[in-house]
Subunit: 149 residues, 2 copies
DNA sequence: ATAAAAGAGGACATGGTTGTCCGGTTTTGG
DNA sequence: CCAAAACCGGACAACCATGTCCTCTTTTAT
């Protein structure tokens, strides 16, 4: 239902939020979030293009959130990586209705809207500061920051 | 986001609802709903297994809704054909939290729940008797019933 | 200047979804 | 009983999502 890509992107973003704007390499993010490194590298690209994260190449490079977690809604991450396709016209393609959705597809679009709404309702900051005592992304052990140097 | 399979199943069910419990062959349903015949045949099988529709083989056979549209929620069709996988435990697989969902996945599951809720909120009958003047499944022309005989 | 670190991007493998096809089985009408 | 109608089920093709790998480019430290 939700793609792996979305899952991975959200894990990465949550992790980057948890280190408070600091920069982390793909390897660090992958290790922390249990995502295949090589694939995560691909997932990060649309996040960069979508200005969710900023990337820096070269030594001491990596990825960092480009906005504060308070201003980053989960929906933005989803849309950057695997956009929710709202139904804007009848997939049957008959022009007779003009732009009006038929009842069935109106309902389907409502369902998509509900999901979109759920994603729009939460910021990354809220995920981090959940009222519960649990740690985001389960309690994967604190990941060492840059150990070199 | 929503699979083709779900889309097709819902079209088929809506069509069968629109003919008031009468039986229709795969070919008739496919023509009415603009779905590839051979694939629709596959989609119908889980609907049969899920008791959404009943099938009859042989001459004058076909598919018919096994319940009245008032009692058929869209969600049931979705679940029969391509079940919404709710998130019941952290996909990171760490046992430390026990059965508790981490904040991120709680939110994701909320989104899935919202979608599930939207599907559960509507019956096929409601799709057919939409307050708007539009015809379900767009206005594909009335499909002739069994012309033989 | 050079070497190492790290992201960017493309080529390729794998698996699941979508879609086609065909033979088998059940049912009905004559 | 026989033939036609129709669903059942499995084999196979095409395509996209997922995942791996390798090379290129950028950047920094020495």
């Amino acid at each position: 239902m939700l793609s792996q890509t979305v899952e991975y992107a959200l894990r990465a973003a949550t992790y980057l939020a948890s280190v408070e704007g600091e920069s982390r390499t793909v390897d660090q993010i992958a290790a922390a979030t249990r995502v295949p490194v090589a694939y995560l590298a691909k997932v990060m690209r649309p996040l960069v293009r979508g200005k969710i994260v900023a990337s820096r190449r070269g030594v001491r490079g990596g990825f960092a959130l480009s906005r504060s977690p308070e201003r980053l809604r989960i929906l933005e991450i989803v849309q950057a990586v695997d956009p929710i396709q709202r139904i804007t016209h009848c997939p049957l393609g008959l022009a007779a209705h003009g732009k009006r959705l038929c009842p069935l597809h109106k309902r389907l679009d409502n369902a998509l809207a509900a999901m979109e709404e759920a994603f729009a309702a939460t910021t990354l900051a809220e995920v981090l500061s959940e009222p519960t005592r649990s740690v985001p992304l389960c309690d994967f052990p604190a990941v060492p920051a840059c150990r070199r140097h």
